[in-house]
Symmetry: C2
């Protein structure tokens, strides 16, 4: 019988990817475009239908890569998890959100593990990619796989962890050219894992255990949470001290060593940085450890939308207006520029808060046609016209999409609250974060 | 009468530098080695004597540069502050320490300002380089200069701020090739300041005000304080979770964007990073603002020496020994590798704590012949022999000078507590942070 390494050698390996979101689909495409046979698993029938119809729904996947994938005919998608039994390697790319009380929601990992444990055949390599707290692979996934399969890690199957490093909107680094960290439970698993991932990623960086690999990803994103929170707090102080924080950052950047710039904004959005560090904070409690830096960063981030509401209020106050009754246009609601994702975007929280205070709100975002706020207000993106700007008491630039013509916006607006340093020139119409 | 700009043109300018420490002397040398006439002012008669005898006492100044300086015969030093009256430009490089209650000690800046105000002639350019809180130049230095001189900024003299960016031990970046940020109180002052600093530094980066320039330096060092504190806290958690933090950092470094590595250690030392952010915290209070990130980082840093004492205790406990009565050798007490400066070094605080718990302590540091701990214990550096290592119950690597032969230390030691990841190999003799 052919081993998994034999199958890699003669390209007869069947890769299964569970979860076809912004991590799973690019990974599937990276394998499939290289001619590796991939089955993607997802409960969403609309995703399955799109993939099987040759339609891409992840903007980070370039047209070239997608066409290459279609040409090879090696990618198919299904909601039938029993087909996991035909896979030699199964990579788990499911969401790891926080619940409303900011605690890890492990239900997707558990459900995937249950399905895999139930269906996988002997000799399968399983790897978790979802960002989660260290010890998850060993203490959550492993027991489920062993219980459901009746097999043992190291003989019946191999288990590893390899963090996804997807950076939505990044035009330089994508799945294949971003080095991949991999930690397995034993040497054999590490060898197999490296061989498999080499089919889709140029450089694999092995570490000594899954928990090290789990901690790597958390460290990367905690670094970002802490530094963005620091610069946001500095920005608020600079506002009080009459100092332009962006000028400070640009000058600090001239230091040729030991400094990496971060930029302030209305808060941290997306599905990684505002979430991942709190997975670590959660497990740290089990070790009687209080992560004070993450805790403090979380405090700052949590209050940012409210602070931005106060900025809007202060700006309107200069025009002798209140939030109550003012027409406020939000420009850009995605959580970062030039992407079509508004998850965890601070803009939505600010929209809710000013709406609750009586503002008449609406938004324009070229990437997001419609949205629902955390408090369930529904909007469709307005057409951007000079008239729309002119009739608004206040235009809030919440995300600086590069398509925005800032000069034109400024010319046609009564008042701009600029949360992203989009307006470089000084003007009495502009109120900056 | 020649203006200051004329004097720069025909190299007849007289530069005065107040404070001849690790910032002032390298700056003086950068001017003098280019043929600019410099008088250094310092109350220390030993420093004055050394400079006037052609003897360098700052290890960061290379022999080549020092010889070039001596050759030009353009540098002299004095304790007679009345000679400030002969200077066209006066640059202030005095210390800005914290008092024992961690509040800014502005006495050096005030004393320098008083002397300059008293003696400076009309048309002088004055620039503060000492790291301090934003608004110091305007609210502390300016009123003293105007009061003591009877002249006004902008007509009688010009005032600016330009943060020093000295990084002790840095072999790549020194005064001349490190871009210099400069903020003046008016356009004329900025023009003069740029012309003057261009004589000593390749690239000047002008900003709109002294307070922006003040904030730049604080941001740079706050970034470092916060990130070192973060990684120290992560290291303590990793210790509890059986994860090697250094392995995690090395793996995280493979991320090709958005990550800058910091390394854990026994705490933050030196005269910048543990101090500067607390200048900002101090002034923030005046603006009713609480800098929670700096506060939290300060907490972590303050507890690190104590946590390291616990590590030493745990390591000795494995050998069924107590701190009380154990012989403990500290290897490296400088605050970072390959420098001769133990100011604010966490090693000294750990030495005090284990000594108070009854340990017999001694140290070896090839760069520091003798020291006094914060609690006033005096030591001379021991000669490093195999016998010294063998007789010690515990060898603590507090600073990893590159001269240390780690394999030899490990071979000859009973137990090594490695706070710097100096020992790369695993061994039951080694207890890592």
């Amino acid at each position: 019988m052919k081993t998994i390494l034999d199958k890699i050698s003669d390209n007869s390996i069947q890769v299964g990817i569970v979860g076809l979101g912004y991590v799973g689909l690019p990974l599937a495409v990276s394998f499939a475009s290289a001619g590796v046979s991939v089955i993607g698993f997802d409960p969403s029938s609309s995703k399955i239908a799109k993939i099987n119809a040759g339609e891409n729904y992840i903007s980070d996947i370039t047209d070239d890569l997608w066409q290459e994938t279609i040409k090879h005919k090696t990618l198919q998608a299904t909601s039938d998890f029993s087909l996991l039994s035909g896979c030699d390697a199964i990579l788990i790319c499911v969401p790891t959100p926080l619940d409303p009380y900011h605690k890890p929601d492990m239900s997707f990992i558990e459900a995937a593990s249950n399905a895999i444990g139930k269906y996988m055949k002997a000799g399968t390599f399983v790897c978790l990619e979802s960002t989660t707290y260290p010890t998850t692979t060993e203490d959550v996934v492993l027991p489920i796989l062993e219980r459901e399969s009746g097999m043992k890690q190291g003989t019946g199957f191999w288990l590893a962890f390899s963090p996804e490093r997807v950076d939505p909107g990044n035009k330089t680094y994508f799945t294949r050219n971003t080095p991949k960290v991999l930690g397995a439970l034993d040497e054999k698993g590490l060898t197999i894992g490296q061989a498999i991932y080499k089919l889709a990623v140029d450089e694999i960086y092995p570490v000594s255990s899954p928990r090290v690999a789990e901690m790597v990803k958390i460290l990367e994103n905690t670094y970002r949470l802490v530094n963005i929170s620091l610069i946001n707090e500095m920005a608020l102080l600079c506002g009080k001290m009459g100092i332009d924080i962006w000028e400070v950052i640009d000058a600090a950047k001239t230091k040729p060593y030991g400094f990496q710039p971060f930029y302030p904004g209305p808060g941290i959005g997306g599905h990684c940085i505002p979430l991942d560090p709190f997975y670590l904070e959660y497990i740290a409690k089990k070790f009687n450890f209080d992560l004070s830096m993450i805790n403090t960063a979380g405090h700052i981030n949590m209050m940012m939308p409210h602070r931005m509401t106060l900025k809007i209020s202060s700006a309107l106050n200069k025009h002798k207006k209140s939030i109550n009754g003012s027409r406020i246009l939000f420009m850009g609601v995605a959580y970062k520029p030039d992407i079509d994702d508004e998850r965890e975007s601070p803009a939505l929280k600010i929209m809710d808060e000013v709406a609750q205070k009586g503002a008449i709100i609406y938004y324009h975002d070229p990437f997001i046609d419609e949205l629902s706020t955390p408090l369930n207000r529904k909007f469709k993106s307005e057409e951007l016209t000079a008239g729309l700007l002119q009739k608004s008491d206040c235009v809030v630039i919440a995300t600086n999409h590069s398509a925005f013509d800032v000069d034109w916006i400024l010319t046609n607006s009564q008042l701009v609250v600029d949360l992203r340093n989009a307006v470089k020139i000084s003007s009495n119409k502009v109120y900056k974060l």
